[in-house]
Each structure stands twice: as structure tokens, then as C-alpha cells.
């Protein structure tokens, strides 16, 4: 503990060390560009970072512990609170892990709707990234424009599931609802809007902006070896020139049938990553347009038929005695997946979001481990921040795109 006196004045978050002439500065946990509750302890030599130590855990809610004490369906809404910028991708990753454990086949219409929701969520998350990243670096107007588009996207989610932030829009075994009337028309309009804005607003404001380029180019360089070793996934990995997208390499849902490209940036820096995000958003709108066409030739069934695990549709529960009995058992006791373990990776907007579930045949998971991409990207900070300047720290945190709901869980 620092002893304040006249020679060493006490500042709340500064600590002078006279011996080696470095300064220890406490960045966060309430810093506006710490993207949540990140506390960084930085040791500075002048303006250069000598040592960085990310301190996390300020948002720890014990979600993995909760999973061991909740039935499988009970836990699903809790997954919203992991990456709260794109909740559906968490719901989906969890639901997919349980479905793999049970061995369920999801009806085609549910698959189309899920893939649509996933891509809408990817756009929501990427728009949020562009907005906050630009705001962190100092481009205020991009923030306003990107949030406008994001609001329209959240309206789409609200039309579908009634929630704007914590969607819980996916169920184990399918989706709860069909798309409302006119939803896909709005979706198309939104895609047009996003594409137009990308081209004419965000790109026009940032792409060749001198200040933006000076702040981002050659800042936060991650070599491919480092990216692999630190467990970087998603845009962080592809930003280092390694083309690995789980949607393409280990396809799930309908991604094997869809036509889309995996953008890669080989500059390894923040500017490359920013361009990657922009390119990925265009790919997402491309996927969404294809899905709108695919939706039309699907059967109306939304939930998988597996009486031992999934409740029957409401009409059946209300009319058939046996369905009602099974529904009662599933609600009061919960489903009991077979004994075994599963790890299912999915490509969330932030990177590889995977759920490891160990089931002992009980209605409660014996162990659930959430592999959150942001957790590993936060670990990376202690290496890439060293040697950079204090002014670039915010840029680098912004370009790692970490969300603390999922870092701390």
C-alpha cells in the first residue's frame, strides 16, 4: 500500500516507483473504453508500456456453477448473459452442444431460422464493434451511424422474440416460434440498409481517413504464431492471416449449403482486423439473402420430435394425454441426456464459442465449461500491450473486441 506524503502525493490510480523510474497506472475497471470491467495494471516507462497485467473477474457470476444446478432447459436463458452483445449465438452454441449429446436432428425450418438469427446477431455484434472501436479511437460520428443500424437490427430481433438484448431465441431442439409476417421483408430492407451504410458511411468515414489509419496501422500486431499459441479465434485469428472459420471448416447448421467467403487480413494489425470486420458484415448480408430464399421451401415444423427429451407442440399437449404427461415430466424433472461428454465449437461473432458438457445421465449437467473467445483474447493483452504506447492501449483493447460477460462468466 502506498503511503501518501508531500513527496509522493496520493493519486487514486497512479503509483510512482522512484527506483526504476517507471510508473504503475491502473487502467479501469471503470474506464469507459475498457469495454466492461477490465482492469489493466500497466507499468509505464515514459509513455511506453513495459508490463501489462490484465485483472479480470469483476463480472464473475459463476455461470458454470449455475449450470451444474439447473436443468438443461432452465440454463438456456442464462447463456444470454455471456456475450450479451449477440445473445442468440450463445443460446445456439449451448443448444447445439446439448443436441449433439442427445443426437437430435433439428427440422429444416428451425435450421433456417436459427442460421438467420445467428447472422443477424453477427451483424449486431460487428456493428457494435465498429461503433465502439471508432468511438474509442476518437471517431464519434461513426458510433452514431452504426448504432442507428444496430437499433434497426435489434428491432428485427424484437419482432421475432420480443427481446432486444437477452434474446433466448433458440431452444434445445429447434426454435420456439415461426417468423412473424413481413419479417423477411424487413430483414431484406435492413440488409440493404446495412450494405448501403457500410459502403457510403462507415467506409467513407474510416477506410481512407488519415487519422484512423495512423491510429490503427501497425498497432496491435499479432503474429500468426502468437495468435495460435494464445488461442486466438475468429476475427483475431483471421486478422493474423490464418483462414480458419468454423462455419466453413467444421460446418454446422446450414453453413455447408450456403455460399460465402472467409475474409482474411494478413497485415496482422488493428487496421487489418477492422477491414476484416467490414468484409465479414458484407458476407453476413450475403448469407441472409440466401436464407430468405431457402425459407420458402421448408415444412412448418419447428421443434424436433424426440418425446424423451423435447416437449411435444402445444396443440398436442393440449389434446393428447400422453404428450401432456411427458411435458409434465420434462418440466418438473428436466431432460436426462445420455451419459457422455461433448465439446461443440461454434463460430460466434467474437471467435470460437464452445460448450463442453459432461453428462452423467442426470437432469443436471455434471460439468459445463464454456469456452469463451474473449477470455483467451484478454490473456493475449499481457503480451501484445508490451512495447506499445499508452495512447495505443485503448485501440488495442478495442480491436480485440472483448465482452466481459463472457470473459468472467
Amino acid at each position: 500500500m502506498q503511503q501518501p506524503n508531500k513527496l509522493t502525493p496520493f493519486f487514486e490510480n497512479l503509483n510512482f516507483e522512484r527506483d526504476d523510474n517507471t510508473m504503475v497506472i491502473n487502467f479501469g475497471p471503470q474506464h469507459p473504453s475498457a469495454h466492461g470491467q477490465l482492469r489493466l495494471m500497466l507499468e509505464l516507462d515514459g509513455e511506453q508500456v513495459v508490463k501489462a497485467y490484465p485483472d479480470i473477474g469483476y463480472l464473475h457470476r459463476g455461470i458454470e456453477k449455475m449450470a451444474e444446478n439447473m436443468t438443461y432447459n432452465e440454463f438456456l436463458p442464462t447463456t444470454d448473459r455471456l456475450d450479451y452483445i449477440a445473445s442468440t449465438s450463445n443460446n445456439y452454441a449451448y443448444a447445439l452442444a446439448v443436441e449433439k449429446l442427445i443426437g437430435l436432428e433439428v427440422p429444416r425450418r428451425a435450421q433456417v431460422i436459427r442460421t438467420m438469427l445467428l447472422e443477424v446477431n453477427r451483424l449486431l455484434s460487428h456493428l457494435f464493434f465498429i461503433a465502439t472501436h471508432a468511438l474509442d479511437v476518437g471517431a464519434m460520428s461513426v458510433f452514431l451511424y452504426a448504432f442507428r443500424e444496430r437499433e434497426f437490427g435489434m428491432d428485427l430481433m424484437e419482432d421475432y422474440c420480443g427481446a432486444r438484448l437477452t434474446h433466448s431465441a433458440v431452444r434445445i431442439g429447434g426454435v420456439p416460434l415461426d417468423l412473424p409476417d413481413g419479417w423477411m421483408i424487413n430483414l431484406r430492407k435492413w440488409c440493404d440498409g446495412v450494405e448501403y451504410e457500410l459502403k457510403h458511411t462507415y467506409n467513407a468515414l474510416l477506410e481512407k481517413n488519415r487519422i484512423w489509419k495512423m491510429r490503427l496501422e501497425n498497432v496491435g500486431v499479432i503474429t500468426p504464431e502468437d495468435a495460435l499459441s494464445w488461442g486466438c479465434t475468429g476475427p483475431m485469428l483471421r486478422g493474423s492471416g490464418i483462414a480458419y472459420d468454423i462455419r466453413k471448416e467444421e460446418p454446422y447448421e446450414l453453413y455447408s449449403e450456403l455460399d460465402f467467403d472467409i475474409p482474411v487480413a494478413d497485415t496482422n494489425d488493428s487496421y487489418g482486423r477492422y477491414r476484416l470486420y467490414m468484409a465479414e458484415m458484407l458476407e453476413s448480408t450475403k448469407i441472409l439473402r440466401q436464407l430468405v430464399i431457402m425459407y420458402d421451401d421448408t415444412e412448418p415444423q419447428l421443434m424436433a420430435h424426440a418425446p424423451a427429451y423435447i416437449s411435444a407442440p402445444k396443440e398436442e399437449i393440449m389434446t393428447q394425454n400422453y404428450s401432456l404427461m411427458q411435458h409434465f415430466v420434462l418440466v418438473t424433472q428436466g431432460m436426462r441426456p445420455p451419459k457422455g461428454e461433448v465439446y461443440v465449437p461454434t463460430e460466434s461473432p467474437k471467435g470460437e464459442l464452445g460448450f463442453y458438457i459432461k453428462s452423467e445421465g442426470e437432469p443436471y449437467a455434471y460439468r459445463l465449461k464454456c469456452r469463451a473467445p474473449s477470455f483467451f483474447h484478454t490473456g493475449l493483452l499481457q503480451e501484445i500491450l508490451v512495447g506499445t504506447y499508452i495512447a495505443d492501449v485503448v485501440t488495442i483493447i478495442g480491436s480485440t473486441n472483448i465482452v466481459f460477460g463472457e470473459v468472467d462468466r
Binding site: I56, E68, G231, E249, R336, K339, G354, Y356, R367, K369
Partner: protein
Amino acid sequence: MRKYTPKDSVQAKAYYTDRFHVVPSVPTQDVSTDEVFAKQLEVLSSKVDIKSAYIQIEQMRVEIDHKDNFKAIEILKNECGYAMMSEMSAVDYLAQDGEFEVFYQLLNLEERKRVRVVCRIPQGLAIESIVPLYKSANFAERELFDMFGLVVNNHPFLKRILMPDDWEGHPLLKTYPLHGDEFASWYEVDKIFGKEAREAIGPENRDPAKIDRYDTKRFSRVGREVPFGADISEGEPDTPIEYSQTLLVDYNASQTQLKDRK
């Protein structure tokens, strides 16, 4: 007689299980059914003692001795192309076997294969760190230590990561209650005010629906206000409802002022 609760696991339990319920298992395949995995397993088994290996849900699961964990993962990294460690953690089997099951989830990007290296380690022993192989293990092993109390040997900076440094207990153990233990419930009080303040402050209210009708310090009941801290357990005074006076605000005043100035 008091209801018996097992002390080795305080997790939620199914309140009813059918007598004839048979727990099915997720189907497993032999490693020889997959060419790539079979080849990799051959490389691995020539150098490390393998306890069991099978494929479950498209991924190979290899069980080894806990002393071989570094060696096995090194072989998988250098000779089988597993360039990334996606995840590692443990499963608590202390009640059944007195052991932790530690798993490492590895990814081969070239061949798009995932393998899970599993080892059982008795309580009280420390496991070897794999940070020299994968830097992503740095945070993951710290989390493992924080959540289970499993010590990792040769870790560069083994310290609690999610819980506070002065925390007692390891939250993901099966013996740790979901709502926290005695230490957890008094953590803030002890830290901020000291242990002697426990009685004055009282235990934390964890019931969100709890209403104390005699509490005159925290809530004001509109129309039935009493002075702060008044004792109303003997019956409350009948206060007539008084509405606050509404102030009329002239919203146009500033506009007219502006006009005048112009």
C-alpha cells in the same frame, strides 16, 4: 430425525428418478474407424502409455496418466499438428474417486480435427503446466487453480484469476454450495467494516421478495409515511394523505427571453 444431506456434494439433485430408469450412453466409435485419428494415436502410443482411446461425437478422447500430460501434448503439438489449445479445465470426481479429471481440448487446423486429452489426478497432487507449449494455457490454468484448487507446477504466475485474491474455497468444487459458504456470505462485511460489524449489519437478504412491514428505514409507503426509523411495531399512526404541491413551470419563458434578446 434431521434430513440427511450428503457432505461431499451439495449440488442440485434430481428429486425423483424412476426405479427402472436405465442411463443410456452416448455411442462411441473405435479409433480405427477414422484414418487421421488412428495415425495420430499410433504416434502417441509409441511414446506415451495410453489408458483408453475412443471417438465420441466426432472427436477423439485419449486418456493418459497425469504424469505424461506435458509429454503427450508436446507430441500432439509437434508431431500431429495440433497447433491450438482451445480449452482446458477439470471435472470434480472427488466424491466418487478422490480425483480430478483434467481435460485439454486441442485443435488441428490443417486437418480440422479436435482431440481431447484427459487425465485423472488424485487430490493433493499438482499437475504439470503446459504454458511452454501453448500460451493460452496461462489464463486457463489459472482459472483451473482458482475454481478447483488444483495446483499447477511451473506455471509462470499461478494466482487466482476470477475470484478475489483473499478468497477462501474453490467455487466449482462439488462441496461448495451454489449460494456461497459462510465465508462468502460475510466477505464484504468483514472486508469493509470488520468482523465485529457482523451483528450490527446482519446477514445478507437473499430473498428478493422479502418485505418487512415494520422496516421504516428503507422504504416509504406513499401516503403512510412515518418519521425515519420510527418504531411502528405497536401500530402505526393514521396520517392523512398529503399531496405535494405542483409547481407550475413556464416552459416558454426561456424562448420569450431569447426572442427579447434578439
